[in-house]
Symmetry: C2
Subunit: 358 residues, 2 copies
């Protein structure tokens, strides 16, 4: 039985990935040097496709890292002088806050009760902070910030870098990149690719901030300085040998997504999310974890279960449908269902049929 | 024409990799969670195979990182309080030294002229140093340290952690791990795998040193602390989502190498290296870069060329044989030929025939 993975990430592969992998073998993508013209072409193609697909402005530069957790470290080490401010609404936004503390920065956070999002209207952030970090789509519990709330932070604090964790949000979420300074994500979520690659977008303000921090002796001058990433990116290269296969597959899947059309992908995501939330709202044994519809993620649907959630997960596994467990303290209290471009309408319809019958 | 990659890494794939990739697709390895039992099984199998293949003692723990450059950072941040000492005989050992400096440590180095290895007999290292770093096999110029010289460092300075960069050395080099504390390598060299995964071995002294450094407020308490790697490794997991496919392929290729037998692999490596060095020694237009045979690497064969080396590289490319350029300042002065388990005797014989005829 062919299984379908509705897990938050790694997850179901985008349907074209197996063919691209086979082509990669034929074209020696797994043997070429990361300093070759062939690799530079793959890098530039990936950047071109991502910019076209996500409508990323020209002045953004795209770096590749190995994970979003690594990206959090690189952001803190490069872009934060002394203080960073974190809006925390789940385990991953809290991880970002912890990383800042661990790296010796004075990190502060605004945090709310689980399943809720902080009220950003009354946000007070003093002048000392370099950076505000927000997680648009909290993978751990399926809470998403409406984009207008994120942009309001930027207009309230235009001098501060606004960094957005979009790990499980893209390519669905249509950011207006003029209102943010840096965005990062991992490819094993919404892009339906194997794990081991993350993408980090920075605008010119980030580049300048990193340079200023180095000048003031407040930043990382190391092998993974923004300066080095940037100098290499200008040549379509990376500081060290990267996950070349991952970058290649990303170039191919973004090409496929461009062919399908981002509007179509977004419409389908919304249709599938509506179907899933409708199912949860009418279900006797499942309940939407996020009460306010405005804050419900379209890509990570979190449900509370009346019984330990491993029971439903085990049952669905016998049907070939792999659901995600809850994260950390919610491990046995939630199921999480990913709704990415890799999940077809038909697959979600079958899943909701089974959920309704359960 | 099927090309053969003699580049230092990425390089020719081990011949079983394409089949393992196809099996990985069939078995959903690219979709499984990094917190699943299935992943834990892959992790433990990889560790078991590596320990058996390389004769690594039980008290070593194996971590996975994304690159050897990242590993250098993790080593410096975790294992060095204030001072690290670096034996530098090429670009990569110098990178390790630079990384230590960049991360704010007081790094010192013993360095020699290019193509030579430092005389370690008169090594003087004061008590203040926590760690001695040595690159057994300098990928940049094909210089290798005889193992007895490395072990003599450990016996001269038993209190210091001895860390060995074995990036392009393994699985060929038969380390006696009792005489070293930490070893790291990347899989896109001697294991013939796609890039994007590195392996970091630590013994209990490293774990204790990292704990002591944290106690003394001298080490990284971050997301990539040795403590976190260790606690996760005990559960056959990694701190963050890793390159799962890379780890899976490593488990499979080490299995194949165990079947072939490490002694056979080592004998073949020596035969092929002898053939290549013999060819160079008798060649009118090529010359061994490393004069002293004792210091010549068996896995990276570096040759000086009488004309710009891109001429020979271009010529061999037309024959389907991809040779490595020189590194950095030697880009147009050297060719580098990798001699890994992925390169068959027949392939090296054909290459030497062509070299002789050139």
């Amino acid at each position: 039985m062919k299984k379908i993975y509705f897990t938050p990430g790694p997850t179901e592969l985008y349907h074209t990935v197996p063919d691209h992998l086979k082509q990669a073998l034929k074209d020696d993508i797994l043997s070429i040097s990361h300093r070759s013209k062939a690799f530079e072409h793959i890098y530039s193609k990936t950047v071109e496709n991502l910019k076209a697909l996500l409508n990323i402005p020209e002045d953004f530069t795209i770096f590749f890292t190995s994970s979003s957790t690594e990206t959090m470290e690189r952001i803190i080490m490069n872009l934060v002088g002394s203080y960073s401010f974190h809006i925390v609404n789940g385990a991953f936004s809290n991880r970002f806050y912890q990383v800042a503390n661990q790296l010796g920065k004075k990190a502060r956070k605004l945090e709310t009760a689980s399943g809720q999002s902080p009220n950003l209207k009354n946000l007070l952030i003093s002048d000392t902070f370099d950076l505000i970090a927000i997680t648009q789509n909290e993978t751990s519990q399926g809470i998403a910030f409406p984009l207008d709330e994120i942009y309001q932070i930027k207009s309230a604090f235009p001098e501060k870098l606004l960094v957005v964790d979009a790990v499980s949000a893209l390519p669905y979420v249509a950011f207006d990149y003029k209102n943010v300074d840096s965005v990062f994500f991992s490819v094993q979520h919404g892009f339906g690719l194997p794990a081991g690659l993350a993408v980090w977008l920075v605008n010119q303000c980030c580049i300048e901030k990193a340079q200023l921090n180095i000048k003031n002796d407040k930043a990382f001058q190391g092998y993974h300085s923004v300066e080095r990433y940037y100098m290499k990116a200008l040549k379509n290269q990376t500081p060290e040998t990267p996950n070349i296969l991952g970058i290649y597959l990303l170039s191919k899947v973004t090409e496929d997504m461009l062919l399908k059309g981002i509007h179509q992908i977004r419409r389908e995501t919304e249709y599938k999310a509506a179907l899933l939330y409708h199912t949860l709202e009418n279900h006797p044994k499942l309940k939407c974890f996020v009460n306010e519809p405005r804050y419900r993620s379209k890509t990570i649907i979190a449900a509370e279960t009346v019984m330990p959630s491993n029971e439903i997960i085990s049952y669905f596994a016998t049907k070939g449908m792999i659901l995600g467990a809850g994260y950390d303290k919610y491990k046995f209290k939630h199921v999480r269902i990913a709704n990415y471009p890799a999940h077809s309408k038909e697959q979600i319809e079958i899943l909701t049929d089974y959920l309704n019958a359960w």
